[in-house]
């Protein structure tokens, strides 16, 4: 019982770590590169404008798609590893 509980706790902690990591990337590409840090990326030209503009209009969306699939894949492994899947 106690072992089961600590296993579940470890699973939840691993999940929280994974979520934190993904959300840092999520915030970095959208609020970071596309808005607040755009002036710093202004020197990198992309098709008539700069990298920050690309992140605002396309780059962040592509990153979001990648993040969700990475999370889903990683969680499936965690589910199996901790024996908590369906």
């Amino acid at each position: 019982m106690a072992e089961e509980k600590s296993n579940a706790e470890a699973y939840w902690k691993a999940n929280l770590r994974l979520i934190t990591g993904c959300l840092i990337v999520w915030a970095l590409v959208s609020y970071g590169f596309a808005i607040l840090l755009r002036p710093m990326l202004a020197g990198i030209p992309v098709g008539g404008t700069d990298l920050g503009f690309w992140f605002a209009q396309q780059g962040s969306i592509l990153t979001f798609i990648g993040l969700i699939f990475f999370y889903a894949w990683k969680m499936n492994r965690l589910d199996k590893q901790y024996g908590l899947g369906e």
């Binding site: 992309v46 969306i61 798609i65």
Partner: protein, 593 residues
């Protein structure tokens, strides 16, 4: 064949397709009728979520706003996609494990309080009705153009179609109808974009064309666009934005609103497995991304086409923009698409300097040195996507296709929202509180009445919408962000938040956000009742009413946390419930409901 006949043919054929699929799927399985997505592969489900999610705001309105605002309106692109990351990681899998049907039901059970459930019902209704207003505004624009009637008549026709479509019932619940709607809307959006991208940049992929060279001038497309718009006194298309705080808050508000919108969350209650909730969110974003990566290309290309239609000398290599600006087209020679849109009242012209030519420029810029006495052409942002094929001289069938796509987007989302509203009223409010012994027939009747009332209210307010379709929808997101998302998230990630905290949090988030919006947009969106003019100078710290949802959400989190810590712990069985929601193991089948 006249354009009118082609439009009717395309719209009619697409409707026949949806109804045909509905009848076929109904005959195939009655279970599928209720459990949208039960036993459906995550890819298929993702496509259905895409159709449910992408509304008139995404299809008709968004590219027009990006075209008008340029970089500043990238917020819509990031906000409406970034929310899926939150949904996939913070809500969807756990709500699926919990295994109930409506959002208020989860809140009522997790916070062991009927009051909490009722407050959630109110939040849901306010957010969803606001959202439907945006849909009605968008669908009204589409109908008025394609049936060649004025905007108000278009709106009333839209209301009647939405009424039959939703109250007919079931249509919405069938995953395959939505898959068909997704396919219609993505084809309708992409085909004209491909043509236009080829015309302007020789690149058949619009998303790449956006960053390619403009064929006629040899410069990058975006540089060319910047030169043209700044020559007419507009802000640079790709330029930076001074008010970064507002831009961040607006994006955040759209993101957490996306994750808090009940009609989207409902889709995840019914996927077969917890893991499928995660995959479905990913696939949904892939299918949404197909439109959202094309939208910024449509926006910039349509803006350039619009400008070079009025100022033909600006189309190629330009040595002197002042000279090119002097040679705009004469009003008498205006293209047909301007004439047809003038009939809807969504394009208006007034020859202020009586030179017979059209001067179209930033109304707040001063070009008296060019002999201009004010901007003469007013173009409603919401028409840009619909008018796009006409502006680019594409064949008539492309225009018919756009009509079918725009209506698919507006109707599928309106139906989904009305279903969320009616289930909250019949299931949560009436069955859950007022009259638990209501018959199934009575529940259905209540659902239909509440749908009808919502349509009437939304149509009335849609006649004078508090903004363009996408902006009205953005208000709905702010409301969902401030009221529902924080308590849903805390309900899963904190065992400490109790009934008192949740109720206080939802109420303070909702009231704060609504009051801020109403002060600028009019009380209950009734035109003329606003206390302050809706201009940046009046906004507190430069935060627009569209962005305030993010602040409301922070208030909701803070109030819930403080109130909960000042009062007792939730009972042990609730803490066990939270624990169980966190692990996929032991999730039952999708609920039949």
């Amino acid at each position: 064949m006249s354009q009118f006949a082609i439009n009717v043919l395309f719209v009619g054929a697409s409707f026949a397709l949806y109804i045909g699929i509905a009848i076929w799927a109904k005959a195939g399985s009655t279970k599928d009728f209720y459990v949208a997505g039960g036993g459906v592969h995550p890819v298929t489900n993702g496509m259905a979520i895409g159709a449910d999610w992408m509304s008139a705001a995404s299809f008709i309105s968004m590219a027009g706003l990006i075209a008008a605002g340029g970089y500043a309106n990238s917020t819509f692109l990031m906000g409406w996609t970034g929310g899926y990351v939150l949904l996939a990681m913070l809500l969807a899998p756990y709500l699926r494990k919990f295994g109930k049907f409506t959002v208020p039901e989860f809140i009522g059970d997790r916070f062991y309080s009927r009051t909490a459930r009722m407050v959630a019902v109110v939040c849901l209704i306010v957010a969803s009705v606001t959202y439907v207003i945006g849909q009605m505004a968008g669908a009204g624009v589409a109908f008025s153009r394609f049936l060649e009637v004025d905007a108000t008549t278009g709106l009333i026709i839209a209301a009647i179609v939405v009424f039959f479509y939703s109250v007919l019932g079931g249509m919405k619940g069938i995953t395959y109808t939505q898959v068909a709607q997704y396919i219609v809307l993505i084809i309708a959006y992409t085909i004209p974009a491909v043509f236009i991208s080829l015309q302007l940049t020789d690149n058949p992929i619009p998303a790449l064309g956006l960053f390619s060279d403009h064929t006629a001038s040899g410069e990058p497309l975006l540089s060319k666009l910047n030169e043209v718009v700044t020559a007419l006194g507009f802000n640079s298309y790709t330029g930076m934005v001074d008010n970064k705080l507002n831009m961040v808050l607006f994006t955040l508000s759209l993101m957490i609103g996306t994750a808090g919108l009940p009609h989207v969350i409902m889709r995840f209650f019914t996927v077969p497995k917890v893991a499928d909730a995660r995959w479905s969110a990913g696939w949904a974003l892939v299918f949404i991304g197909l439109l959202y990566l094309t939208a910024p290309a449509v926006a910039s290309m349509a803006r350039l086409n619009l400008m070079t239609t009025i100022y033909p000398d600006m189309a190629g290599q330009v040595e002197n923009y002042d000279a090119a600006a002097a040679d705009s087209i004469a009003y008498a020679d205006r293209p047909n698409w301007i004439r047809t849109w003038e009939e809807t009242g969504l394009i208006t012209f007034e020859d202020k300097n009586n030179d017979g030519k059209i001067q179209f420029y930033n109304p707040s810029a001063d070009f008296s040195d060019r002999g201009w006495k004010g901007n003469e052409l007013t173009v409603n942002n919401d028409i840009l996507v619909l008018a796009n094929p006409e502006i680019a001289n594409l064949p008539g069938w492309v225009i018919g296709l756009i009509a079918a796509g725009g209506l698919a987007a507006a109707l599928s989302t309106a139906a989904g929202l009305l279903l969320a509203i009616s289930s909250a009223i019949s299931h949560d409010l009436i069955k859950g509180a007022l009259n638990p012994h209501i018959t199934e027939k009575g529940e259905l009747l209540a659902a239909r009445i509440s749908m009808s009332v919502a349509i009437v209210v939304a149509t009335y307010l849609g006649a004078n919408p508090p903004g363009f379709a996408a902006q009205v929808v953005a208000l709905a997101f702010g409301i969902a962000a401030a009221s529902l998302f924080p308590v849903l998230m805390m309900g899963i990630f904190s065992k400490r938040v109790n009934n008192k905290g949740a109720i206080a949090g939802m109420l303070s988030g909702l009231l704060f956000t609504l009051v801020y919006i109403f002060v600028y947009k009019g009380w209950f969106f009734i035109p003329g009742t606003n206390n302050l003019a809706d201009t940046p100078a009046n906004w507190v710290l430069g935060i627009s009413p569209l962005s305030i949802g993010a602040v409301g959400a922070i208030i909701n989190f803070a109030v819930a946390y403080i109130v909960s810590n000042a009062s007792e712990q939730p009972p042990q069985e609730i803490q066990d419930l939270v624990e169980s929601v966190r692990y996929p193991k032991g999730a039952g089948g999708a609920v039949d409901h």
